[in-house]
């Protein structure tokens, strides 16, 4: 049928290539079209060369490129919108995450919501869009499609970010999601990425900086694993992080900067790399902000357990005293004691309820945080460095209720206490107010900033110290009353 030889077809095809036609489907079609026209001319008696020359002249030189451009722009409206959205989100969502971190750090309301929105945008919208546009681009350029790589990368990213969202919301399963996501990212996606890049370069005969690629992949994998260790509080996190950041600083970054200075070509990959590094850095910094080094922890735990023990000690002594007061039948004394005991109980009950609420917030639903006796186990808080919840309860929700309760208790007990030493103690030690060094802040605010603006473990010892002080004062006054009564009776 065809009078055109295979060789001639190949020549036409390579001529088309030379004119910059890359969209494969269009290329095949135009090749067929040109061949048909040539065949027709040859049927009328022309030789191949003359016929081809004639068709080419009719076609014009720049036409092929223009046809491709028109075709792509006609069928691509949706795709272009998608790409614009993707780039927009790629810029906006990391900014939201950073702003959310600042909000959380400064205790401004809305921080958690912003963080959720930012992570959701990155994980559930930006990532899939990025992969979808990449797949289309690759197909359009008639390159081999590393589908496995795209799917692995996308799922690993989505699972990790889903895990982070679960973690923020304290839903069960967060740790499993984060572990799976980050492990796949570090041990499957990154090596796969390197091997696909190397294979592609080899196939196209392009030069590739293998050292850069491999050092980058190793540093990236270590960074990811280090972050995982840190989030999960597994032993060895410190070493992994130290090694990975050193690898980044000493090997990867110098290579990267040098390599990019040499050829500022592959902009999309640069964009991705910068985004990944920025996100990793943000996660790392957040992890550091939200958990305290181990050495600090025992420093917080010791005073807390001491204050708790003291409070418990007095709490056990008090029933004997109040029994004695009841037995005495002295109504005045009974009323006074009742008033003081009521105020003391109110404070201690409130403090315990606040502690319990924070515990419930700190732990996932499937985690145990009570000891064998059913009490809150402070040592379980070891790695839970949340600094927001207590502030939220004490200041924002309950509007300094604890402060008013303590003030009230102070006034009552000061009016009842006789012993000057006890009075002095109540005056100075009950509230242990910070020194007034800022006239613009109310006393309550200074108090809250001093004691409830830090890690929960630190504030927990303050709370327990209040319980212990309140019980001590209660005990002292009750015994004073009893003593007085006994003296009068004699």
């Amino acid at each position: 049928m065809s009078d055109i030889t295979e060789q001639e077809i190949e020549q036409i095809a390579s001529d088309i290539d030379e004119q910059g036609l890359t969209y494969l489907e269009l290329k095949n079609e135009l090749l067929d079209h040109i061949c048909c026209e040539i065949e027709e001319a040859m049927e009328q008696g022309m030789m191949f060369n003359d016929a081809y020359k004639k068709v080419r002249e009719e076609m014009g030189k720049k036409r092929i490129r223009q046809i491709q451009h028109e075709t792509l722009s006609l069928i691509n409206k949706k795709y272009r919108r998608m790409k614009r959205t993707m780039y927009g989100l790629g810029i906006v969502s990391p900014v939201i995450v950073v702003i959310a971190s600042i909000f959380k750090f400064m205790h401004w309301s809305g921080g958690s919501l912003l963080m959720t929105i930012g992570l959701f945008l990155i994980g559930m919208i930006f990532l899939p869009l990025f992969v979808m546009t990449r797949i289309r681009d690759t197909r359009r350029l008639d390159e081999e499609l590393p589908m496995g790589l795209y799917i692995t990368g996308m799922s690993a990213g989505m699972i990790s970010i889903l895990g982070a969202l679960f973690k923020i919301q304290h839903w069960p399963g967060a740790n499993v999601l984060i572990t799976v996501g980050l492990v796949v990212l570090a041990l499957v996606f990154l090596p796969m990425f390197a091997s696909v890049r190397i294979k592609k370069a080899r196939k196209n005969g392009e030069p590739i900086d293998k050292k850069l690629l491999i050092s980058g992949v190793i540093a990236g994998a270590l960074l990811t694993l280090g972050t995982l260790f840190k989030i999960m509080h597994w032993p060895g996190a410190g070493i992994v992080i130290l090694v990975s950041w050193s690898a980044v600083a000493v090997l990867f970054l110098p290579y990267l900067v040098l390599g990019q200075l040499k050829k500022p070509k592959d902009q999309l990959n640069n964009f991705l790399a910068i985004l990944l590094v920025a996100t990793a850095a943000a996660i790392f910094i957040m992890a550091l902000l939200r958990s305290q080094p181990r050495t600090l922890i025992s420093g917080f735990l010791a005073p807390e357990s001491n204050f708790s023990a003291t409070a418990g000690f007095y709490e056990n002594q008090i029933p004997a005293l109040s029994n004695a007061i009841e037995m005495s039948g002295n109504m005045d004394m009974l009323n006074t004691a009742g008033e003081i005991q009521e105020a003391a109980d109110e404070i201690c009950n409130y403090v315990e309820s606040v502690k319990e609420e924070v515990f419930k917030h700190l732990f996932d639903e499937d985690e145990e945080f009570r000891d064998s006796e059913g009490n809150l186990d402070m040592s379980m808080v070891k790695y839970k460095g949340d600094i927001d919840k207590l502030w939220e309860i004490i200041v924002e929700r309950d509007e300094f209720k604890l402060f008013s309760l303590l003030e009230n208790f102070k006034n009552i007990t000061l009016s009842k206490a006789e012993d000057p030493q006890l009075k002095d103690f109540i005056q100075k030690n009950l509230l242990f107010l910070p020194e007034n060094d800022d006239d613009k802040m109310t006393v309550e605010w200074q108090w809250a900033v001093a004691y409830f603006n830090g890690p929960f473990l630190q504030s927990a010892s303050v709370l327990s110290a209040y319980e212990s002080n309140v019980r001590l004062i209660e005990y002292q006054i009750l015994s004073e009353l009893l003593h007085q009564n006994n003296k009068e009776a004699v």
């Binding site: 049928m1 065809s2 095949n28 135009l30 079209h33 036409r63 046809i67 006609l74 069928i75």
Partner: protein
């Protein structure tokens, strides 16, 4: 020759109609068919034809099947059910357009210079 300006708006209609009549066609065949039907007065440039074909495909009006012919690949297009509906509609719409154009361009009675 019919000028490109007129063809621009009707190219989709022409392609859809031809495919409705002929079941399946490839690009070169379409240009030839149009040339034949118009007795050489309409010559589709491929610069107009192929982008329109791809657009119709992207919109779901037509589907393509590729066949290997020796070293070449030939791409045949065929209407989808949706394209079939669109073809009828477009042709009807265009007939309406022609009727209205005739009405607009009809010489007014007073100025009848007697064509016959």
């Amino acid at each position: 020759m019919i000028s490109n300006e007129f063809l621009k708006g009707t190219l989709k209609t022409i392609i859809l109609h031809l495919l409705a009549e002929n079941k399946r066609m490839y690009g070169y065949e379409i240009t030839r068919q149009v040339e034949k039907l118009s007795e050489g007065k309409v010559q589709l440039t491929w610069g107009a034809l192929y982008p329109t074909l791809h657009k119709l495909e992207a919109d779901g009006y037509i589907v393509a099947e590729e066949y290997n012919i020796g070293k070449r690949v030939r791409k045949y297009y065929r209407l989808t059910p949706e394209g079939d509906k669109a073809s009828t509609e477009k042709v009807k719409e265009f007939a309406e357009f022609v009727r209205i154009m005739k009405q607009i361009l009809k010489p007014s009675p007073g100025l009848n210079l007697n064509y016959e």
